[in-house]
Assembly symmetry: C2
Homo-oligomer: 294 residues x 2
Amino acid sequence: MTDLTPGFTGSPLDRADHLRNDPDAVAAAARDPRARLLLLDGIDPRLDERGLLAWGDMAEAPAETPLALLGLIGGAPRFAPIVRPAGAERSPALFRLLDALPASEAATFAAARSLISWHARHRFCANCGAPTAPFRAGWGRHCAVCGTEHFPRVDPVVIMLAEHGSGADARVLIGRQPSFPAGRYSALAGFVEPAESIEEAVARELFEEAGVRAVAVRYVASQPWPFPSQLMIGAIAQVANDRITLDEKELEEARWVTRADVAAAMAGDPAALFLLPPRYAIAHTLFARWLAGA
Amino acid sequence: MTDLTPGFTGSPLDRADHLRNDPDAVAAAARDPRARLLLLDGIDPRLDERGLLAWGDMAEAPAETPLALLGLIGGAPRFAPIVRPAGAERSPALFRLLDALPASEAATFAAARSLISWHARHRFCANCGAPTAPFRAGWGRHCAVCGTEHFPRVDPVVIMLAEHGSGADARVLIGRQPSFPAGRYSALAGFVEPAESIEEAVARELFEEAGVRAVAVRYVASQPWPFPSQLMIGAIAQVANDRITLDEKELEEARWVTRADVAAAMAGDPAALFLLPPRYAIAHTLFARWLAGA
């Protein structure tokens, strides 16, 4: 994984969509001697001695717990237990672990994590209120009362660098949420709303949060974010003004930084103006791509 | 609207997010003498004598129907009634109407339509099964029993032209679903799943549906699709092979077409090999952008 590669991408999983609708095929996959079960600590990944995701025998599946067929790796079925989360959803230990995990391993974990979180928060039918049950090998829930089929939710989020000026004089806008670790700044971000394009969501969020007006938006890269299940859509927006009007409910500070400032942060220079987001976050990728000319 | 502009974009609405969380401000907006109510036929748009969206007085709001604050146009509040749909959701008449409606008007309608459809399908709490009620001026539902806040769902969908070859020799893949009108072909498409990037979803769908292997994916454009609430993400994928292996559950036919073939379809040539999707669908935009060099 380089700074230019989005985190949580590159899983070797073949999602094997053709198997999911065939309960006999899913049952056969679970009996396949090559089948493996993702091992978890609560809903966090467990690692093996190589620092990769740990997999166990299907017999290690917890009792009374439905299984999701994540897909196939090298033709061998891979399952995850649809456990019920207990306690804090995101621990500092999880993020230290993600710092060390290859993006492709994190991507495989992400599929399990997003599914587990979705099942936990969607045990009832939004259409009629009745309890629902997993179907399609864990990739959906079905309501036996009204017949509605529910599918895992993916929430698109735009995350963007506002860019003012061009070439060597260009600067980008970084912002701090109060919850960030000391010194950390990132790109601005927000959920795409119904009836918005990506470009419109980028422009709306930049104006709402910082008062800057986007005049041109260019897509850069995307990644999934499995806490619980966002699709992060990374962009750079050329903006018309550099006067910042801060939405203090969203950000405690925002400032313009130069290529030299971002390069110093990327190099880990102790004199850098700010600390970058971790490499597995697409904001990191955005900064790296901007330095590389995106 | 040109062939290069995505449909359902360019609404003049200022979504006025700052008002939504303030019930007093929303009530004041509803009493504002400039406030207007979107007029609907069922859940389809009603048009005025100019062929634009029809708006009425707030007094025309149906009884016992909650209102959504769509936002502001020129500083004046615009509301839509959160009606309960009855009967067929998408009529041929609706699509004829969309053919004639400017994209910016369709975009304003789309916000109302997606919200109305979401409320209708999410009257109960997915977390505990209790009935929920609208909050945040119609941009969410709240469960008074377990406290969960629910927000309108937006489902990201990738839609893409597979491209084989380059320059004057390039060809793109078009496909037909059995439900399409006679002669109509389109780009391939599919929902982004949990733990996938846009680029990974494009590659997976092209391989699942047509057996072609994407080697490079370039983002082109996006649009919302309000039936009920998709974010359509348009891309072109250079593929390594041109041998098609059709998934006959998804497509009844797929074929490669040249720039001349697409240009003939775009020009409405009666001898064209195929009929394009309507201009308000992003597949149309994708074909136009490809011809223009995207």
